[in-house]
Symmetry: C2
Subunit: 420 residues, 2 copies
């Protein structure tokens, strides 16, 4: 609808579009739909009682402070805890390296605000997290893509892509959204070395790192970078901005994430945050600190891992039984997602309509591709559902895929003969 | 400090600067400083017990939903409540006219994102809220200023300023930050009419409207606009975006505000919000709804008004006794601030150093002027302090002003005579 406001929108709004995932979340709120669409953690595993205790304690002991205005950088105890946790990766992080954000999504927005001029290129994985594309489209970013395989970003393609002069590299090394792929240690080292040689910074997005279901933890890029440059002193000052969040380990409803980076960059990002939302809710920060402290965060992650592993396994097993031949998928060692590739003849957006008729939903993969490719791919979330529901949903989805395949492989119907 | 990151910052960061108010808030955290600097509500009046009840209820009855991802537009019951409250002003508002934001500051940021191209002009009051300048500087806005007097924006200057072609008009009609001035009904009508004739939208920022200490409520611009265009149907579709917040009536630590506007603009702003922080904390939204519902919001505002009036009166009375001749100030009918003008010879930023030596703080007025004028002005907050502390602080500040005045009016010291 054209209104008096329409011709006043800024040019950048032309690159904004509603996220398909979020529109789908609306569509799939009906209880009879089995939705593999959202990147939702299991609501039945939220530590609600612990949140109740924390709220009671924060409001009775520090109610006035929690409800008053606070500092842009974040509450000191929380920043100290985040610094301590990050230091376990073998890097020296102080609170001056930590900015608390209103979810990881705000971290992406602030990075766009501080670094991206219209037309600047960003190096992303193909496919990559669509929320990052959405955040940076608003700053009129362009993209250079590097393919992802079973070992994560194909670093062999890095040097060529860097010749396009991207402002920074955006990497999701652990259980990547959407493919679930994990960047191997060897490739992490190559990525850090190449980025350093070319003088291009790295944004490392790590919402899922704690959710590993098998295999050994691999050092994050920020730690490999610190080692690479021999940083041993106080305060990280290297080539990586490291992003994480409580959304997948505690609860997304908090909207609580953080950025780790060199102190001067953190200061600049905090300046940008001031104009954006002044600060993140102090009540939420204090409650999250109380919930996470005393070792609870680690303890809770140890509860989540086996539960999510069971769900992943249920989905993989159901896919083996119910999906037609010609469909392939990833086996993620952690995180929230399985990524499926269908025969080239299938358009996943068309398939979604068919799937919704079967009361099952997923996210078509094209939205995760900066260059619009990936039309025959889809992302499936396995954490927000019981194994029984997963099994039922995959059976329904298998039926929808089979029907779509039948249709494209069936010979075209013979033209009806005119009556003579 | 120049680092490898510095030359990668986007051009827009040159227009970002750290807000003086927020830097001052850091400086003035020492307990022995009496700070009139921040725009802080009274922490001792926060309804902490009510928040405790609300947290308990929300987490026990809807814990999983409150902690899960939510919709970008905001929680439905809260949007309905906001629509209902706004409808009391005599306009028909539905939930499609409401976007929940992470504080009013995010509303300003989203408006900048959706409307401001680099170099676009915004019509602001002189002086105006510095947080708006900060939000829009990041989108490289330019400004046209219209003076404020005791009756608010001088609408006689409007037509000339509109000839500069501003993208929108930014107005704070009630107890303006920083002057405390209130736009008269006659001027409100003129502003709405002129804006409509020129086809320029209005952003109406109203964080303090509920906090009136004397005189009659005046209709907001959004209601006058609806009347002006004869909008009587369902859903507001006029020329005004109306902003408000719970920060001054419940608690700023929630970071909870909202935008009322035409449904198509609300949709576009929600699209921008998706990429910015996905959504505002559902836990906070549900808790705020529980706190505010059942008539509590109105009831609590009736507690705040007399308490804040007493503090305002204490400050006005102390200023009459303790401030030197030649200083003048406003008498606000509501809100949080008194605005003082000193003789032209005084630089308020210099004075602040003197004042900090006396353990008292305020905000120098220049920061509220888009054109850098106002160096002899200051903003004083009266809500965050007991009358006794206000009195003591104003006495200290009076001493600092008197000393500064003595120095500029004293004849220059005679040069010392060389010993012969």
């Amino acid at each position: 609808m054209q209104t008096r406001w329409t011709d006043r929108y800024a040019q950048r709004t032309q690159s904004m579009s509603s996220s398909l995932v979020r529109e789908l979340l609306k569509l799939t709120a009906k209880p009879d739909i089995i939705s593999f669409a959202g990147g939702l953690p299991a609501a039945d595993l939220f530590p609600v009682a612990r949140f109740q205790d924390a709220c009671r304690r924060v409001l009775s002991e520090q109610g006035a402070e929690a409800l008053q205005y606070s500092t842009t950088e974040g509450e000191r105890p929380l920043r100290e805890m985040i610094a301590r946790h990050t230091s376990r990766y073998g890097i020296v992080v102080t609170i001056d390296n930590v900015l608390v954000t209103t979810g990881s999504q705000q971290a992406l927005d602030l990075i766009g605000k501080v670094f991206i001029n219209p037309g600047d290129h960003v190096l992303v994985e193909r496919p990559t997290y669509l929320g990052a594309l959405q955040a940076w489209n608003a700053y009129q970013a362009e993209y250079v893509s590097v393919d992802v395989d079973g070992d994560g970003m194909r670093t062999s393609g890095l040097a060529a892509a860097l010749r396009r002069g991207p402002k920074f590299i955006y990497a999701l090394p652990n259980f990547q959204n959407p493919t679930g792929a994990t960047l191997s240690l060897e490739r992490r080292r190559e990525l850090v070395r190449t980025a350093d040689e070319c003088g291009v910074p790295i944004i490392e997005d790590d919402p899922y790192g704690q959710l590993r279901y098998e295999g050994e933890h691999i050092a994050p890029l920020v730690a490999i970078d610190a080692e690479h440059r021999g940083l041993t002193g106080t305060g990280y000052s290297g080539n990586v901005l490291y992003l994480s969040t409580f959304s997948k380990t505690l609860a997304p409803g908090l909207r609580l994430g953080w950025i780790i980076g060199p102190a001067d960059v953190i200061q600049r990002l905090a300046q940008a945050k001031q104009g954006t939302d002044l600060h993140t809710s102090g009540l939420v920060q204090r409650v999250a600190y109380e919930v996470a402290s005393g070792g609870f965060l680690d303890q809770h992650v140890r509860v989540l891992r086996p539960a999510y592993k069971t769900r992943r396994d249920a989905m993989l097993s159901a896919m083996s039984r119910a999906f037609p031949q010609g469909v392939t998928w990833t086996v993620p060692a952690g995180g929230l997602f399985i990524w499926a590739q269908m025969p080239a003849s299938i358009d996943a957006t068309e398939l979604l309509k068919e799937a919704l008729a079967e009361n099952v939903a997923f996210v078509p993969g094209a939205a995760f591709h900066a260059d619009g490719s990936g039309r025959n791919t889809m992302r499936l979330n396995f954490t927000n559902m019981t194994p029984q529901r997963i099994d039922e949903g995959i059976v329904r989805l298998g039926r929808a895929i089979a029907r779509a395949l039948d249709r494209v492989t069936a010979p075209p119907a013979a033209p009806s003969q005119p009556v003579r």
